[in-house]
Protein backbone atom coordinates (compact mmCIF):
# COMPACT_ATOMS: atom_id res chain seq x y z
CA UNK A 1 0.00 0.00 0.00
CA UNK A 2 2.81 2.35 0.98
CA UNK A 3 4.69 1.52 -2.23
CA UNK A 4 1.56 2.33 -4.25
CA UNK A 5 1.24 5.71 -2.53
CA UNK A 6 4.94 6.40 -3.18
CA UNK A 7 4.57 5.40 -6.81
CA UNK A 8 1.54 7.65 -7.19
CA UNK A 9 3.21 10.64 -5.55
CA UNK A 10 6.28 10.06 -7.70
CA UNK A 11 4.11 9.92 -10.82
CA UNK A 12 2.47 13.23 -9.85
CA UNK A 13 5.89 14.76 -9.18
CA UNK A 14 7.22 13.57 -12.54
CA UNK A 15 4.08 14.83 -14.27
CA UNK A 16 4.53 18.21 -12.61
CA UNK A 17 8.20 18.32 -13.61
CA UNK A 18 7.41 17.33 -17.19
CA UNK A 19 4.74 20.02 -17.29
CA UNK A 20 7.21 22.56 -15.88
CA UNK A 21 9.77 21.50 -18.46
CA UNK A 22 7.47 21.98 -21.43
CA UNK A 23 5.91 25.19 -20.04
CA UNK A 24 9.36 26.68 -19.44
CA UNK A 25 10.62 25.51 -22.81
CA UNK A 26 7.66 26.84 -24.80
CA UNK A 27 7.03 29.98 -22.70
CA UNK A 28 10.70 30.82 -22.32
CA UNK A 29 11.36 30.10 -25.98
CA UNK A 30 8.56 32.45 -27.01
CA UNK A 31 9.85 35.12 -24.62
CA UNK A 32 13.34 34.76 -26.03
CA UNK A 33 11.94 35.04 -29.53
CA UNK A 34 10.08 38.22 -28.59
CA UNK A 35 13.20 39.66 -26.96
CA UNK A 36 15.22 38.87 -30.08
CA UNK A 37 12.58 40.48 -32.34
CA UNK A 38 12.20 43.67 -30.19
CA UNK A 39 15.37 45.44 -31.44
CA UNK A 40 14.10 45.16 -34.99
CA UNK A 41 10.68 46.70 -34.34
CA UNK A 42 9.10 50.03 -33.34
CA UNK A 43 11.86 52.15 -34.78
CA UNK A 44 11.25 55.88 -35.09
CA UNK A 45 8.06 55.63 -33.05
CA UNK A 46 7.08 57.11 -29.73
CA UNK A 47 6.51 54.28 -27.33
CA UNK A 48 6.13 53.91 -23.61
CA UNK A 49 9.18 52.40 -22.06
CA UNK A 50 8.66 50.59 -18.77
CA UNK A 51 11.33 49.24 -16.55
CA UNK A 52 11.68 48.16 -12.99
CA UNK A 53 14.13 49.97 -10.77
CA UNK A 54 15.19 49.91 -7.17
CA UNK A 55 14.54 53.29 -5.63
CA UNK A 56 15.26 54.98 -2.32
CA UNK A 57 12.53 57.33 -1.17
CA UNK A 58 14.10 60.51 0.21
CA UNK A 59 10.94 62.53 0.66
CA UNK A 60 8.48 60.60 2.75
CA UNK A 61 6.23 63.56 3.65
CA UNK A 62 3.43 62.05 1.58
CA UNK A 63 3.30 59.11 3.96
CA UNK A 64 1.81 59.35 7.40
CA UNK A 65 1.75 57.03 10.33
CA UNK A 66 -0.16 57.36 13.60
CA UNK A 67 -0.01 55.48 16.87
CA UNK A 68 -3.08 53.88 18.48
CA UNK A 69 -3.51 57.07 20.54
CA UNK A 70 -3.54 59.11 17.32
CA UNK A 71 -0.14 60.74 17.69
CA UNK A 72 1.80 61.28 14.48
CA UNK A 73 5.01 59.35 14.00
CA UNK A 74 7.68 59.37 11.36
CA UNK A 75 8.42 56.96 8.56
CA UNK A 76 11.69 56.23 6.86
CA UNK A 77 12.40 53.65 4.17
CA UNK A 78 15.52 51.74 5.08
CA UNK A 79 15.56 49.34 2.14
CA UNK A 80 15.25 50.21 -1.54
CA UNK A 81 11.80 49.69 -3.05
CA UNK A 82 11.12 48.00 -6.38
CA UNK A 83 9.26 50.45 -8.58
CA UNK A 84 7.88 50.27 -12.10
CA UNK A 85 8.80 53.39 -14.06
CA UNK A 86 7.08 54.22 -17.33
CA UNK A 87 8.42 56.94 -19.61
CA UNK A 88 7.48 58.13 -23.09
CA UNK A 89 10.37 57.52 -25.38
CA UNK A 90 11.10 57.89 -29.05
CA UNK A 91 12.76 54.77 -30.21
CA UNK A 92 15.10 55.82 -32.94
CA UNK A 93 17.63 53.08 -33.20
CA UNK A 94 18.07 49.70 -31.69
CA UNK A 95 18.64 50.45 -28.02
CA UNK A 96 21.40 48.88 -25.98
CA UNK A 97 18.97 47.60 -23.35
CA UNK A 98 17.20 45.54 -25.97
CA UNK A 99 20.43 43.81 -26.86
CA UNK A 100 21.42 43.29 -23.23
CA UNK A 101 18.07 41.68 -22.55
CA UNK A 102 18.75 38.84 -25.00
CA UNK A 103 21.64 37.15 -23.10
CA UNK A 104 19.88 37.75 -19.77
CA UNK A 105 16.69 36.01 -20.93
CA UNK A 106 18.72 33.26 -22.63
CA UNK A 107 20.72 32.73 -19.43
CA UNK A 108 17.60 32.62 -17.25
CA UNK A 109 15.92 30.17 -19.65
CA UNK A 110 19.00 27.96 -19.85
CA UNK A 111 19.44 27.81 -16.08
CA UNK A 112 15.73 27.10 -15.52
CA UNK A 113 15.72 24.28 -18.08
CA UNK A 114 18.94 22.84 -16.67
CA UNK A 115 17.48 22.91 -13.14
CA UNK A 116 14.25 21.16 -14.19
CA UNK A 117 16.18 18.67 -16.32
CA UNK A 118 18.34 17.65 -13.35
CA UNK A 119 15.28 17.27 -11.11
CA UNK A 120 13.57 15.14 -13.77
CA UNK A 121 16.62 12.90 -14.08
CA UNK A 122 16.75 12.39 -10.31
CA UNK A 123 13.02 11.60 -10.16
CA UNK A 124 13.37 9.13 -13.04
CA UNK A 125 16.20 7.34 -11.26
CA UNK A 126 14.00 7.10 -8.13
CA UNK A 127 11.19 5.67 -10.30
CA UNK A 128 13.63 3.11 -11.73
CA UNK A 129 14.63 2.10 -8.19
CA UNK A 130 18.23 3.35 -8.45
CA UNK A 131 18.40 6.60 -6.48
CA UNK A 132 21.70 6.03 -4.70
CA UNK A 133 24.10 6.35 -7.59
CA UNK A 134 27.20 8.44 -8.12
CA UNK A 135 25.53 10.18 -11.07
CA UNK A 136 22.69 11.33 -8.78
CA UNK A 137 25.21 12.68 -6.29
CA UNK A 138 26.72 14.65 -9.17
CA UNK A 139 23.26 15.81 -10.28
CA UNK A 140 22.50 17.15 -6.80
CA UNK A 141 25.82 18.99 -6.82
CA UNK A 142 24.92 20.46 -10.21
CA UNK A 143 21.49 21.42 -8.82
CA UNK A 144 23.28 23.38 -6.11
CA UNK A 145 25.40 25.05 -8.79
CA UNK A 146 22.34 25.83 -10.96
CA UNK A 147 20.55 27.28 -7.93
CA UNK A 148 23.56 29.38 -7.05
CA UNK A 149 24.08 30.65 -10.59
CA UNK A 150 20.37 31.12 -11.22
CA UNK A 151 19.69 33.18 -8.15
CA UNK A 152 22.94 34.92 -7.29
CA UNK A 153 24.12 35.67 -10.81
CA UNK A 154 20.52 36.15 -11.99
CA UNK A 155 19.67 38.65 -9.24
CA UNK A 156 22.89 40.61 -9.73
CA UNK A 157 22.46 40.66 -13.50
CA UNK A 158 18.91 41.89 -12.99
CA UNK A 159 20.15 44.68 -10.70
CA UNK A 160 22.78 45.59 -13.26
CA UNK A 161 20.17 45.69 -16.00
CA UNK A 162 17.86 47.86 -13.87
CA UNK A 163 20.73 50.23 -13.18
CA UNK A 164 21.49 50.36 -16.88
CA UNK A 165 17.84 50.93 -17.81
CA UNK A 166 17.63 53.86 -15.38
CA UNK A 167 20.62 55.69 -16.84
CA UNK A 168 19.82 59.20 -18.04
CA UNK A 169 16.49 59.23 -16.17
CA UNK A 170 16.20 62.19 -13.80
CA UNK A 171 14.57 61.20 -10.52
CA UNK A 172 12.78 63.73 -8.34
CA UNK A 173 12.04 62.97 -4.70
CA UNK A 174 13.82 59.65 -4.87
CA UNK A 175 17.17 58.21 -5.90
CA UNK A 176 18.00 55.10 -7.84
CA UNK A 177 19.61 52.32 -5.98
CA UNK A 178 21.15 48.99 -6.89
CA UNK A 179 21.65 46.07 -4.58
CA UNK A 180 24.28 43.51 -5.36
CA UNK A 181 25.33 40.57 -3.27
CA UNK A 182 24.61 37.01 -2.30
CA UNK A 183 21.46 36.07 -0.42
CA UNK A 184 22.12 34.21 2.81
CA UNK A 185 19.08 31.96 2.32
CA UNK A 186 20.33 30.81 -1.06
CA UNK A 187 23.77 30.01 0.30
CA UNK A 188 22.09 27.99 3.02
CA UNK A 189 20.03 26.06 0.43
CA UNK A 190 23.13 25.47 -1.68
CA UNK A 191 24.90 24.17 1.43
CA UNK A 192 22.00 21.78 2.17
CA UNK A 193 22.15 20.46 -1.40
CA UNK A 194 25.91 19.98 -1.18
CA UNK A 195 25.51 18.00 2.05
CA UNK A 196 22.76 15.90 0.41
CA UNK A 197 25.06 15.29 -2.53
CA UNK A 198 27.72 13.93 -0.18
CA UNK A 199 25.11 11.73 1.51
CA UNK A 200 24.11 10.35 -1.89
CA UNK A 201 27.72 9.80 -2.85
CA UNK A 202 28.40 7.83 0.34
CA UNK A 203 25.07 5.99 -0.09
CA UNK A 204 26.06 5.00 -3.62
CA UNK A 205 29.41 3.66 -2.45
CA UNK A 206 27.81 1.76 0.41
CA UNK A 207 25.22 0.28 -1.95
CA UNK A 208 27.93 -0.84 -4.34
CA UNK A 209 29.90 -2.40 -1.47
CA UNK A 210 26.73 -4.15 -0.32
CA UNK A 211 26.06 -5.45 -3.83
CA UNK A 212 29.60 -6.77 -4.16
CA UNK A 213 29.65 -8.44 -0.76
CA UNK A 214 29.16 -12.14 -1.40
Amino acid sequence: METQVTARSLKILLLFLNLSWWTTLIGGGLLLLIVIVIPFTDRDATVERSFRAEVNLKDTSAFQVKSTSGEAGSIEFKEPILAKITLPETRRTQSTEDWILIPIVAFALGISLWFIHLLRQICRSVRDGEPFTLINAKRIRLLALALFLGTVLGDNLQSLFRMFAARGVQPDGFTFSASFGIGGEILFLVLILMVLSEVFRLGARMQEDQKLTI
Partner: protein, 71 residues
Protein backbone atom coordinates in the same frame (compact mmCIF):
# COMPACT_ATOMS: atom_id res chain seq x y z
CA UNK B 1 43.76 -5.02 -4.53
CA UNK B 2 46.45 -7.41 -3.23
CA UNK B 3 43.85 -9.87 -1.90
CA UNK B 4 43.24 -12.50 -4.60
CA UNK B 5 40.47 -15.09 -4.72
CA UNK B 6 41.74 -18.46 -5.87
CA UNK B 7 38.34 -20.09 -6.09
CA UNK B 8 38.81 -21.02 -9.75
CA UNK B 9 41.97 -22.99 -8.94
CA UNK B 10 40.31 -24.92 -6.09
CA UNK B 11 37.26 -25.61 -8.28
CA UNK B 12 39.50 -26.85 -11.06
CA UNK B 13 41.39 -29.16 -8.67
CA UNK B 14 38.14 -30.63 -7.42
CA UNK B 15 36.43 -30.62 -10.83
CA UNK B 16 33.39 -28.71 -9.56
CA UNK B 17 31.37 -26.56 -11.91
CA UNK B 18 30.17 -23.08 -11.00
CA UNK B 19 26.49 -24.08 -11.26
CA UNK B 20 26.99 -27.13 -9.09
CA UNK B 21 28.88 -25.22 -6.41
CA UNK B 22 26.32 -22.39 -6.41
CA UNK B 23 23.56 -24.97 -5.86
CA UNK B 24 25.48 -26.71 -3.08
CA UNK B 25 26.32 -23.61 -1.05
CA UNK B 26 23.03 -21.83 -1.75
CA UNK B 27 24.16 -18.60 -3.40
CA UNK B 28 23.26 -17.35 -6.84
CA UNK B 29 25.33 -18.20 -9.87
CA UNK B 30 25.83 -14.48 -10.52
CA UNK B 31 27.22 -13.86 -7.04
CA UNK B 32 29.52 -16.87 -7.22
CA UNK B 33 30.74 -15.65 -10.59
CA UNK B 34 31.52 -12.23 -9.07
CA UNK B 35 33.52 -13.97 -6.36
CA UNK B 36 35.32 -16.24 -8.82
CA UNK B 37 36.32 -13.42 -11.14
CA UNK B 38 37.70 -11.34 -8.26
CA UNK B 39 35.15 -8.54 -8.63
CA UNK B 40 33.80 -8.98 -5.09
CA UNK B 41 34.62 -6.25 -2.58
CA UNK B 42 34.00 -8.38 0.51
CA UNK B 43 33.08 -11.92 1.52
CA UNK B 44 30.79 -12.91 4.37
CA UNK B 45 32.05 -15.42 6.93
CA UNK B 46 28.93 -17.50 6.22
CA UNK B 47 29.84 -17.71 2.51
CA UNK B 48 33.44 -18.53 3.31
CA UNK B 49 32.31 -21.21 5.76
CA UNK B 50 29.98 -22.77 3.18
CA UNK B 51 32.70 -22.73 0.53
CA UNK B 52 35.28 -24.32 2.85
CA UNK B 53 32.77 -26.97 3.90
CA UNK B 54 31.77 -27.88 0.35
CA UNK B 55 35.25 -27.73 -1.16
CA UNK B 56 36.85 -29.29 1.91
CA UNK B 57 39.55 -26.64 2.13
CA UNK B 58 40.86 -23.83 4.36
CA UNK B 59 40.07 -20.10 3.93
CA UNK B 60 43.74 -19.62 3.01
CA UNK B 61 43.28 -21.91 0.02
CA UNK B 62 40.58 -19.64 -1.33
CA UNK B 63 41.97 -16.22 -0.44
CA UNK B 64 45.61 -15.21 -0.69
CA UNK B 65 47.55 -12.00 -0.21
CA UNK B 66 49.70 -11.13 -3.21
CA UNK B 67 51.65 -7.90 -3.23
CA UNK B 68 51.39 -5.95 -6.47
CA UNK B 69 54.40 -6.17 -8.76
CA UNK B 70 54.48 -2.36 -9.07
CA UNK B 71 54.83 -2.01 -5.31
Amino acid sequence: MPIKVKLDRVMLDQAVSLTELADRIGITLANLSILKTGKAKAIRFSTLEALCQELNCQPGDLIVFEENEQE
